[in-house]
């Protein structure tokens, strides 16, 4: 049958992928028989860059690993550095971190819901969801000063407080969002065109989900009850009560439903956190003198388990900083699911894991700052490059 196999290359530039990454699909007719991923197109060398920056500067670099889950990355980074120094963030700061993290989860899940609607060709629903997501974005802007890179975390706490006025605004915004989501749930469950495209598509059973070490909503949609927030609590999650949404079908539809129901759960978490918000300082003053140590920090990012590993050697820069984003963990399982499906289902399944490729790739970076000259023109760059090539 090898004669009838066509290689279809999805990416690095393809409308189904919102970020550049390449998947080589070998198809027979309309069915996929083999998938080879080629990642690294948005590889920015963040891990190497982190070794060349101070701990304080790295906080902002960690924020820029991912635009969607920037708070998850900084929380993870701040926790790792706090562990290295053996300090604890004050309780109010932990609650504030939780609130921002949950707002971010809502915004990320809604973003994803819009994208999955777009993948099945339902642009109207995509517009509705993204319109409602604006409420959360505006809230985040109001609370932190920026829509995407919140810069809310500091080492040893958070940078901004939520006072009564802002808390009221959050509650008001959440009410609107909750009403909208509750309105959409029955619509999604009954709209035939959505069901046709997602039910039974991209099936992953719970045994395989464990075997492929799948994380996040993807694992929970396959009936694996894993959530770092409950199993390995950080921030204020050990003091809050919440359900872990799981479903057993393991297809794209259950991934939609898990994420939609998780947004409702997040709304409840924020309400509870706001009502329990303890008083006190929002950050502890720390001296960034870090003893040689190592730390592992885990956070449940919107896409799943995020793990950071830090090692310090006593200097003001980390000796090694490792980031593993949830998408990379789900990649093996993704390629496995893609084998045997229809070509038309590929975008939906790809979107189903909520891929975030920028998170996944890190590393080399163009860094001219160590040079003496302050401003480089294009001409300087060219000259530099020519000299460099002659030398080597």
């Amino acid at each position: 049958m090898s004669g009838s196999v066509i290689k279809v290359v999805i990416g690095p530039q393809h409308p189904a992928l919102k970020e550049p990454e390449r998947f080589i699909l070998e198809i027979e007719g309309e069915q996929v028989v083999r998938v080879t991923p080629r990642i690294g197109y948005v590889h920015r060398g963040i891990e190497k860059a982190m070794e060349n920056r101070t701990y304080l500067q790295n906080l902002y670099l960690a924020e820029r690993i991912c635009g969607i889950c920037s708070h998850a990355h900084t929380t993870c980074y701040a926790q790792a550095v706090e562990n290295l120094m053996n300090v604890e963030a004050p309780p109010r700061a932990k609650y504030l971190r939780t609130i921002i993290a949950e707002l971010e989860r809502i915004h990320s899940h809604l973003l994803w819901l819009g994208i999955v609607a777009h993948e099945v060709g339902f642009d109207t629903f995509f517009m509705y969801v993204w319109r409602d997501r604006e409420i959360i974005m505006d809230l985040l802007e109001e609370l932190s000063g920026n829509r995407v890179n919140y810069a809310m975390n500091a080492i040893g706490g958070v940078r901004r407080d939520i006072n009564g006025d802002k808390a009221l605004k959050i509650l008001k915004g959440l009410e609107v969002i909750e009403e909208e989501i509750k309105k959409y749930i029955p619509m999604i469950q009954r709209e035939q065109t959505i069901l046709k495209r997602t039910v039974g598509v991209g099936y992953l059973n719970s045994v395989d989900a464990v075997r492929y070490n799948v994380v996040g909503p993807m694992a929970r949609a396959s009936g694996v009850k894993r959530d770092v927030r409950r199993d390995d609590p950080y921030a204020a999650y050990d003091e809050l009560t919440f359900n872990i949404v799981t479903r057993n079908e393991g297809d794209c539809f259950s991934r939609i439903m898990v994420r939609v129901e998780e947004t409702l759960e997040s709304i409840n978490i924020i309400r509870e956190a706001l009502s329990k918000l303890p008083s006190g300082d929002i950050r502890v003053k720390v001296r960034l003198a870090i003893p040689p140590a190592e730390a592992v920090s885990r956070v449940e990012a919107p896409r799943g388990e995020l793990i950071h590993y830090a090692r310090s050697d006593g200097s003001d820069k980390p000796a090694r900083y490792k980031v593993r984003a949830p998408t990379l963990a789900n990649l093996t399982a993704l390629c496995n699911i893609l084998t045997g499906v229809y070509l038309a289902d590929v975008p939906v399944i790809l979107a189903g894991i909520d891929p975030c490729f920028s998170c996944m790739d890190r590393m080399q970076i163009i860094d001219l700052e160590k040079r003496e000259k302050k401003f480089w023109t294009l001409e300087d760059l060219r000259r530099y490059a020519r000299e460099w090539y002659q030398k080597h």
Binding site: K48, N52, N213, D232, A319, R320, A329, D367, A385, Y389
Partner: protein, 162 residues
């Protein structure tokens, strides 16, 4: 529910002197060092007998004189054991664990890319994140590789002057 201490005891019982430098940093965070010869065995023992069914990631790092690999494995999504091992810098070789944890295949390719560690028995040890035309012997995360060496890999002479 096994505690941190119980896990270390059972590891020590099984592998004896090849497990050392045990640190319990805080709740649910354990750092253990193991000899490189038993890594594969230790991981498969921990997966099959102690219930560490989740490999979070493999960190590769250059600690100056030698390379280090850190396997972060998780039990019941809560207890993280970081199993460290040292390998020589001149001839970095270690057994692949991709048959124990399937996802290790990807993580090992990443480590191979950035540090040049050869995983023996890996089904497809090829580039994962670096470009295809990247020099074979330039491993960006090694400490002796400077930023200058990995910067500006654009051939400007091919770009026409305007």
């Amino acid at each position: 529910m096994l505690t941190e201490e119980e896990i270390i005891t059972s590891l020590k019982n099984r592998f004896g002197g090849k497990i050392y430098n045990v640190v319990i940093a805080k709740d649910r965070r354990v750092f253990v060092e193991a000899d490189r010869s038993i890594i594969r065995e230790a991981l498969s023992y921990m997966k099959n007998s102690l219930g560490f069914d989740h490999l979070s990631t493999i960190t590769g790092l250059d600690s100056g004189r030698e390379l280090e690999l850190v396997y972060h494995i998780v039990r019941e999504n809560s207890l993280v054991v970081s199993l460290k091992t040292k390998i020589s810098k001149t001839d970095p070789r270690i057994d692949s664990v991709s048959d124990v944890y399937i996802v290790a295949e990807l993580y090992e390719r990443e480590v191979y890319d950035i540090l040049g560690v050869k995983f023996e028995g890996h089904p497809n040890l090829s580039r994962l994140i670096l470009p295809e035309d990247w020099p074979e012997d330039l491993h960006p995360l090694r400490k002796d590789v400077t930023l200058e060496q990995i910067t500006l890999r654009i051939d400007w002479s091919r770009v026409e002057d305007k």
